[in-house]
């Protein structure tokens, strides 16, 4: 345990939110992409977060369950919800009945997600700033 742990925890959160933001950008950019590398219509992606114990960084960890958890991204999940099916017979990706499957991306949903990501990022930034402030004050002792 040390003052630096605060930085490490908060940075993991900012990093995770940036990854989330990148995925949101990808979803928005591909909101109408009917083809992807899999050959299928682009499927909305969601990031999966997990709380992991803050590793001791080479120091001896005394006891367990000290309650400190940083965040990590464990993967990207495909959204299983159905695609939007639109009747567009002239479209090159239309099936035999003339339906085209569009990505299951909801622009409003992504916008709300984006706002949440920003809010979380800011909260972590605030915690980071507080860590810095505490450290600074401690260094100013005996002045």
């Amino acid at each position: 345990m040390g003052l630096y742990d605060g930085f490490r925890i908060s940075v993991s959160g900012m990093d995770a939110q940036i990854r989330r933001m990148r995925l949101i950008a990808s979803n928005l950019a591909n909101a109408n992409s009917t083809r992807s590398t899999t050959g299928e219509t682009y499927r909305r992606k969601d990031i999966v977060f997990a709380a992991v114990p803050l590793e001791s960084g080479g120091r001896i960890q005394i006891g367990g369950g000290d309650g400190l958890r940083k965040v990590t991204t464990v993967g990207v999940a495909d959204d299983p919800r159905p695609f939007r099916r639109l009747h567009m017979p002239g479209h090159p990706d239309a099936d035999a009945q003339g339906f085209v499957e569009f990505p299951n991306v909801e622009v409003f949903e992504e916008t709300v997600n984006m706002m949440e990501a920003v809010r979380s990022y800011e909260a972590n930034l605030m915690a980071f700033h507080t860590s810095k402030e505490m450290m600074k004050r401690a260094l100013e002792t005996w002045r």
Binding site: Q17, S120, M126, M134
Partner: protein, 131 residues
């Protein structure tokens, strides 16, 4: 022996500072996991910390000499309170607004304690150098 340099209020202030840092880390953990499904918010219960302090040095790494610095180990789980009730479908019990207020509150407690320590140090300085 007791004097300006080693009265108990100084020792208590330093212990309390240590606990403030620990609490700060717990709060940071909560904020960072605001979007982690199933994560339960924790907090340091200072009433239990007070009970803990007397037995703190009896852990695995026991001090063999009182001159040694006390260990800055992990937080004993018995002083952590975990909020199990969640209002969200993913089971996460972090309330961001609450955590932000804890963050600020804890920071000010920390600063007040530092001020106290600083005052003590200033007194020592004054004793050494004179006015």
């Amino acid at each position: 022996m007791s004097g300006i340099a080693n009265d108990s209020s100084m020792e208590w202030a330093i212990r309390a500072l240590d606990w403030c840092v620990r609490r700060h880390h717990v709060i940071s953990s909560n904020i960072v996991n605001r979007d982690t499904p199933g994560y339960k918010a924790a907090d340091v219960d200072f009433r239990r910390v007070m009970e803990q302090i007397g037995t703190e040095d009896e852990g695995i790494l026991r001090r063999t000499d009182p001159v040694h610095l006390p260990r800055l180990g992990g937080i004993p789980s018995q002083v952590l309170t975990v909020k199990e009730t969640s209002e969200r479908p993913d089971g996460n019990s972090v309330n961001l607004a609450e955590e932000m207020s804890h963050l600020v509150e804890n920071n000010y407690t920390y600063q007040a304690l530092l001020k106290h320590v600083n005052g003590k140090l200033k007194a020592i300085k004054l004793a050494i150098h004179g006015a």
